[in-house]
């Protein structure tokens, strides 16, 4: 069970997406876990063949618990693994977290009935089929898959729905992200934010930036693109922050065990508001290396999946810095609360037209946005923070180079 984010200590395995004997690659989605922040798709940490499950569907286990044994190519068959009911981390378990976890507490007893989204057989289910089943309240364990290796396809679920299958839930009312429990999410946010304010000595800086070059460049670029390929200014903001992180590593990493670990990779957590309340900030991986159009496409996908309650485990665990914006809600400056163990959060405010001193000393109307930084004073000082913000502002003056 990989890290599920700050103060998220356990998750309930609700679905296996691979079977013993299946080949898996690093990054493949192998299971679905329910947490306070909704369903999270668990990715494999390594490639190989799934030897066997260590945790059954419906079991809540702590972070750090091995979920399965994956045997790498050419590896000998492992020693007899520990039983599912007692999941302390065996040292060679390939799906164990990269870093040794503290001994987990014993898992809670499985609920008497597994969640209805879990097929009892552990059959493969396409994401679209799962989403449709959730929307229609259809118990996937009653569905016979017709896809490869018995996988349940969208058509299988759609056909059942059309045939009038009895829904498990009451009326399949329209509902945002059925797997998102906003009350539970609020509890998780409360825990993480209280810890942040309790432990992290925040300092705050504000910097106004002329983003007219961004607006003009976007208008020109988007005029030649179909809607699905158009960019938003938020993509420029994320890229600028990611690039600035390379020069200012004191804002990109984790503060753990009384020391700071800067991150080589830049995984920008994008703060995403959930309809009806709640917030989460999953990672846009390697944002500093992505071309803008690719970054935009990934951000779009990330936002859609997050709002649909389909975040991946690495997206929860990996953010090295967070970017947030409330500009579209009219807020000119937002002072964020750092998401531990990260050490910084950048805020983008509303773009407003302001009188601005332009070249030659004249005053003209310009599009201006307020950037803010909340940073961890244990790791950096205001001087470095000011330089970091100025670097982001500078990068936004040349959007074509982002």
């Amino acid at each position: 069970m990989p890290s599920l984010g700050a103060d998220m200590e356990a998750g309930t395995l609700v679905q296996w997406l691979v079977k013993p004997g299946d080949k898996v690659k690093h990054g493949d989605i192998v299971a679905v876990v329910e947490t306070q922040k909704g369903a999270i798709e668990i990715e494999s940490f390594q490639s190989g063949t799934l030897e066997r499950y260590l945790v059954g569907v419906g079991t809540e286990v702590p972070v750090g618990t091995p979920l399965a044994i994956i045997r790498g190519e050419g590896e000998a068959a492992p020693a007899e693994p520990k039983p599912a009911a007692a999941p302390p981390a065996p040292p060679q378990a390939p799906t164990a977290p990269r870093k040794a976890a503290p001994p987990p507490p014993p898992p809670k007893a499985p609920p008497s009935q597994p969640p209805p989204v879990a097929p009892a057989t552990g059959a493969r289910v396409s994401p679209a089929a799962r989403r449709l089943a959730e929307q229609r309240g259809i118990d996937l364990s009653t569905v016979t898959g017709t896809g490869p290796q018995g996988a349940i396809t969208y058509e299988d679920v759609a056909h059942l729905g059309a045939a009038g299958a009895a829904p498990v839930a009451a009326a399949a009312e329209k509902k945002r992200a059925p797997s998102l429990d906003l009350n539970a999410m609020r509890v998780a946010i409360a825990a993480a934010m209280a810890r942040s304010k309790r432990e992290i000595p925040h300092y705050y800086l504000m910097h106004q930036v002329d983003v007219t070059p961004c607006e003009q460049w976007l208008a020109r670029k988007n005029a030649a693109l179909p809607p699905e390929a158009r960019l938003l200014i938020g993509a420029l903001a994320v890229k600028a922050v990611a690039l600035a992180c390379r020069r200012f590593p004191a804002f990109n990493g984790f503060y753990r065990d009384n020391r700071y670990e800067p991150s080589q990779a830049v995984h920008v957590g994008v703060a995403i508001a959930i309809r009806g309340g709640g917030l989460t900030a999953p990672a846009l991986h390697d944002a500093d290396t992505l071309a803008l159009d690719d970054l935009m496409a990934r951000m779009r996908d990330l936002i859609q999946r997050t709002r649909a309650g389909r975040i991946r485990s690495s997206e929860i665990a990996d953010p090295t810095i967070t970017v947030s914006s409330l500009g579209e809600r009219g807020v000119e400056a937002l002072y964020g609360v750092i998401y531990p163990p990260q050490v910084a959060i950048i805020g983008f405010g509303k773009v407003v037209t302001r009188p601005w001193v332009v070249d030659g000393g004249a005053i003209g109307p310009r599009a201006v946005a307020t950037l803010t930084l909340a940073a961890d004073h244990r790791v950096s000082d205001g001087h470095a923070g000011a330089l970091f913000l100025a670097e982001i502002g500078k990068l936004l003056q040349e959007p074509e180079k982002l």
């Binding site: 509902k175 809607p227 158009r230 009806g276 779009r300 936002i303 859609q304 579209e328």
Partner: protein, 85 residues
């Protein structure tokens, strides 16, 4: 395509973005950003959905004309029914 069909398409696509909203209760003259709480990414997804569904590529410069349901229906109706050159 009739005005009624276009209105239905607009409401259905907005409902994809805001599934919990009863579109019949939304004031057709209200700003959608506030009426159904959509942001720029949602709006871009709406414009993209209209493009895919109706084949109408709405340029960014025209977005302000589509910020209400009535505005969107009027814009799409006018442009879909334009004679093709």
């Amino acid at each position: 395509m009739s005005d009624t069909d276009i209105r239905k398409a607009v409401q259905e696509e907005l409902n994809e973005i805001a599934p919990e909203v009863d579109m019949a209760s939304v004031d057709p003259k209200a700003d959608l950003r506030e009426a159904i709480d959509i942001d720029s990414m949602d709006f871009l997804n709406f414009i993209t959905a209209i493009h895919h569904r109706l084949g109408l590529d709405i340029p960014e410069i025209d977005y302000p004309k589509l910020v209400t349901i009535d505005g969107a229906v009027a814009y799409i109706t006018a442009h879909l029914n334009q004679p093709k050159h």
